[in-house]
Amino acid sequence: MLARDQADQILTRVLDSGAEGDLIIDQGQALSLKAKDGELEEHKVTSSQVFGLRVIKNGRVGTAYSEAADPESLEALVHQALQNASYAAVEANEKILPNTAQLRTDDALLCPIDTVAIDAKIDLALEIEATLSAKPKVKNVPYNGVQDSMGERQLFSTAGLSAVSRARTTACFAYALLEDGESNAMEGRGQVSRQFAELKASSLVDSVYQNALDMLAGKEIASGRYDVIFDEEMLPSLFQVFGMMFSGKSAKDGVNPMRDRLGTKIADPRLTLRDNPLATSGFGYALFDDEGTPTQNLNLIEQGDLTSLIHNSMTGSHFGLESTGHGTRGPRSTLGVALHQLELLGGDADQAALTAGRTVLITDLTGMHSGANPISGEFSFGASGFLCEDGARVQAVRGITVAGNFYDMLRRVNLIGAEQHWNWERSALMPSIRFADVSISG
């Protein structure tokens, strides 16, 4: 049976019960290859589907999901969602939008046809492992791989919405373990693209090897307060960890520390940050959200002022606002909000000014899921990188911690670089920021 027909049956049952609702059907296929000692170590082929139903009855919301698609399971899906709704408190702001749009993403852009044979993908996995393994001081390449996935999301509602989005992602990654006497270091990196042909083993291998080689000589530096620059990978990670500061959902729930700060100065006046879902070169590109609402470029911080939080229809309604096109819902989750792809506008500092004097360039942070408290802004992470003098890397640094309060740091920006860079996952476009007076322990 076609997904559309299954959706019609499920949503008809929802309507018959006196409720309204929407249904997500996620389907996907994926390939994963890993190499070891010149041979393919793992070859994984998967196909999956899951149905996620949200119902609203008498102002109460219930959700349920099923990976099983037999009639009994889909019957149970409707029953469970309605039953779950009966326990929920009334949420007057959450509604199925009166949206009858028929939406579909552009396959040519997001899901291009890829006819590359499996042999070429295996060859790439083997090439990455073999090339890295052959380099001096490389003990092995314990983690590596080539991945190719295609996912499709179909969203249907009792109001008549039909939205289909499809996306292909192909990626490769490698982590090399280097040893030199008693010293060792392991570093890794990845590449991502929509087209397999755009993955380049040589650039991946070179960057992983150079990073690991640098870190072999890494050592601690004296504890103290330093000017710190987070590189193009780590700065987006920091904003991601503390992304709750922009969440309208967290504001509604009373846990967003910025919930009462709209219109006030929360950052250095040179800092302007926006969510930019309409940039086609990023992997967070999106024309509509998981409620079918059109997305928009949205300034979050404008010259240091907090100008907007992100909202879905429910959180927007709670605050008397419209959705900003940031509604997110998975088959297994309730309605929330999420950023698409952040863009930090470039500043006025050229590279020489940005790196003048002594700085610590942070190229890796560990423990980001456990060492940060988005409610207070406090963080303490393991870190590695380079001690730099006038931009020149004079010492590789590892075994240190960097600690502070992210929300305070936003007000202590020293310089903002002029040049923007995508991170390797192509989820954020940012220049470098030099933060003053950051605590480092070594």
Partner: protein, 461 residues
Amino acid sequence: MLDINTAESVIDHGLSLGADFAEVFVERSLTSAVNTLSSQVQSVESGIDFGIGLRLVFGAKVLYGYTNKTAVDELKRIMIELAAKDQRDPRLGLVAFDFSSPEERHPATQTLSIDADVESKVAYLLASDGAARAASNLISQTRGMCRQKEQHVEIFNSEGCHTRDVRNYIRATLTAIAADGQEQATGMWSDGGLLGWEIREHVDPKKTGDEAARQAVVNLGAKACPSGRMPVVIGNGFGGVIFHEACGHLLETTSVAKKASVFHDKMGEMIANEAVSAVDDGTMVNEWGSINIDDEGMETQRTQLIKEGRLTSFLVDRMGAEQTGFDRTGSGRRESYKYAPASRMRNTFIEAGDAEFDDMIGSIDRGIYAAQMGGGSVQPGTGEFNFAVTEGYYVEDGKIQYPVKAATLISTGPAVLKEISMVGRDFSLACGMCGSVSGAVPTSVGQATLKVDDILVGGQG
């Protein structure tokens, strides 16, 4: 869950393609989540996970696929696609399955398939919320969560294994937020186990609310943590995450077989202070990380990892045994049918010692008492780890002085194991979720309060 003739046909097909080993892993799980916020029900969610994982082994190579479909043709199609580059002369076909049902070590009565009992869970969470708010007028918000899962697994393999198991998981958590002006801080308390909602007979909502509120209020008044190298006393229970990260992951054959663990060639050697004996035990009744059988169908066991400082065992799954020569330890685990199994921890802990808490604190001139720990991570190849202190105190002149915030401890596994000089008597376990190559699996960590003589503390002070 899967017709035995279908399983036999699929496994025979795998062997006909030349695989040395073929396995079918079937899973059907029921899930339920009750969430509260602002002293009312925020959401009730439920679902069905269902799928079949297929594993073929050709020498050292693992081919893995999964699907949500049960048709024999679909399962064979995946096998053919997997083996397209490895097909060779057929192996001998399956003789017959030898069904065995594991001993039920972890009884559960109020399971999800019997009754989700949402009303009772809501009552527990709201009582916890009320207790937290009553404990301090600084508590501005609470978030409660009760998750229950009933996982049915059925395993067939080409060695004749056919077995089934049911795992019942329950976990209830309350997070409290304390606020004072613009300052906010959090506290959290959690209970859980490998059993059903009958756990409510053993958990006290007042204790849950009081403890979450106490932590939040302590953290609200905390000062910046001093930084630098110093001795640290780490509290019992979830403090055991230090051993989990510093050592446990490095003893999994997933890392050992790749020589991506600093301990890969240290079997029989002293790798820790003599004060340290450590165990990974899947048999502990109704504990969160326990199992009856692992996800390869092997009965679980208690594995002595370190005895008085000496490395005595790795955690070994089927592929790990093939690659390292060590015996399997019933440690092949996976989050779901979506993952091939890998060697993973179960209930992992440092055994109790005989040191007194006051003696540990009293021996410190300048250091930290890390009463509660958060999560962490490790890089097995170098042993470098980090983990967060969620409730900490500055210690000076042998006395606890004041609470500190935002601290991280970092070191390497080999280094910290040799710095554990005192282990107390107050052993306890705590629940956690461990993420690794085969997904997120329930694991317990544990220890008595212990002292690390020298470790790098990262703070703002």
